[in-house]
Amino acid sequence: MASSSLLPHSLLSLPTASSRFPKSSLTISSISFSLNQVSITRTGSVAFQPLVRRGRESTFGIARAGETGEEETPAETGGDESATETLEEESSVAVAVEEKPPKKPIVKLNEIIGILNKKAIEEAETIKVVPDIKPGDIVEIKKEKANRRRLALYKGIVISKSSSGVHTTIRIRYMTSGTAVEIVFPVYSPKIKEIKVVSHRDVRRAKLYYLREKLPRFYTFKKK
């Protein structure tokens, strides 16, 4: 949408350019203002919005070190130098416009825990692939025991799933030798060697705690 008729109206209330130039990190290369011709350039995933000055036609150039001309404007109208300027709201995205080594994106403090969780999950996925588990799934879990000799096998129905990053846990309920057992497994633990979804039972709940009051045949599964 680069219609020049629309944009002047929408940009009337924008503040002046002088107050919006960032002090330390300049992301603009060269700016020129033309009255009737407004062009929006798109480079990669970053959109630039031009600043339109009514009644003024001036060329305002801020040269960046090592930058040559119009290497960033593929979609230009006419022969004018296009006006490109980034608005100064959120510029944590690295601007890969010029031929500079890409700047490391600034990591906000509140994103750090999310990043740490993602990294830990990626590391855990290298040990085993974790399938998509929902309550009502009947799963088989192979877990390493303390003596590390054999793998213990657990087969039961998932009655709840608690998602919290790398500490996502599932609660398995099954019946063994006349005793009902519920076990909580941290899905991304390295001690769990395999999780396989065997079948699925249609349920209309996220947490199947009602199975505790039901007959044992609803949570008894034959291990092959």
């Binding site: 403090l109 825990i113 740490l116 990053g165 790398v166 001690k191």
Partner: protein, 276 residues
């Protein structure tokens, strides 16, 4: 003005009063140590404050950080450890080095958390510009036995001070709980809820009878709870992440996410508590 804690061994009340007087006229940013001996010079004009080494030192230089939250760290062995993630804003710059010659004690003053310069007063800004540091919100001192190796303007690097497996003391403002009663504040026991009891959450008895005929000072009673500086000792550092500039500390630390923390090497008796 810091509160002067007067050591209980052998200081008279008169000396204590004189200490308070002198403190008012000559305020220092950190609380004065336990005992300050005032010696009057024989020449009569200059009074020198000689600080006796009875106050508490840090076991090593520390840093300031921000509590970001808690998560789980899964050890490669399979242990699942609850950890607190501590992030670091722009800061941890040495702003002043105090020595016994100039200030009467040895300490390193460290700044933390960059702010816009309009948020600081001119005296604060001037203090930081003197060492060429960025405008910082918080300034804290770490009192050490020796301040060699610290220059004003020096950036403190977390990886050099701490490594994985180190024990640290973390202090910060705890979560404020407001005005709380005896049960929550002092772990008192409730009265019976039934059987005709009329006292459920009250304090019960607060003293004996005619003798002494008063309530002792310090009697545990309802009052404001939390929101004070709390130190958790001997927490181990599980992991140091260099690109994210964060450390994982086992266990919980005071405050909510966003809280300012002061992380220092743990002071363990027999190991690194500096002797006088």
């Amino acid at each position: 003005m810091g509160v002067v804690a007067i050591a209980s061994q052998g200081l008279s009340l008169a000396l204590g009063a004189r200490l308070l007087q002198r403190n008012r006229s000559n305020p220092t940013p950190t609380p004065l140590p336990s005992v300050v001996r005032l010696c009057s010079s024989r020449k009569g004009s200059a009074r020198r404050m000689e600080v006796l080494a009875m106050a508490s030192f840090e076991a090593g230089i520390g840093v300031m950080g921000t509590k970001l939250g808690m998560m789980t760290y899964i050890h490669p062995e399979g242990n699942v450890i609850p950890v607190t993630v501590v992030g670091f804003r722009e800061g941890n710059v040495v702003t002043q080095v105090k020595t016994s010659a100039t200030d009467g004690y040895d300490a390193v003053q460290v700044g933390y958390r960059r702010v816009r310069d309009i948020k600081l007063t001119k005296p604060e800004l001037g203090h930081l510009q003197k060492v060429g540091a960025i405008p910082m919100r918080h300034l804290q001192e770490f009192r050490l036995q020796s301040v060699d190796g610290f220059e004003p303007g020096q950036l403190l690097d977390i990886e050099e001070i701490f490594k994985e497996g180190d024990l640290v003391d973390v202090s910060g403002n705890s979560i404020g709980k407001g005005f709380q009663g005896g049960i929550k504040r002092h772990n008192f026991a409730r009265g019976p809820m039934t059987h005709g009891s009329k006292s459920h959450r009250q304090l019960g008895s607060i003293g004996a009878g005619t003798t002494p005929g008063r309530v002792y000072k310090g009697k545990k009673m309802p009052g404001r709870m939390g929101g004070v500086k709390t130190k958790i000792r001997k927490l181990s550092i599980v992991k140091i992440d260099t690109d994210l500039r964060a450390i994982l500390i086992k266990g919980a630390v005071p405050g909510k996410p966003g809280n300012l923390l002061r992380i220092t090497p743990a002071k363990i008796v027999g190991k690194n508590i500096p002797k006088n």
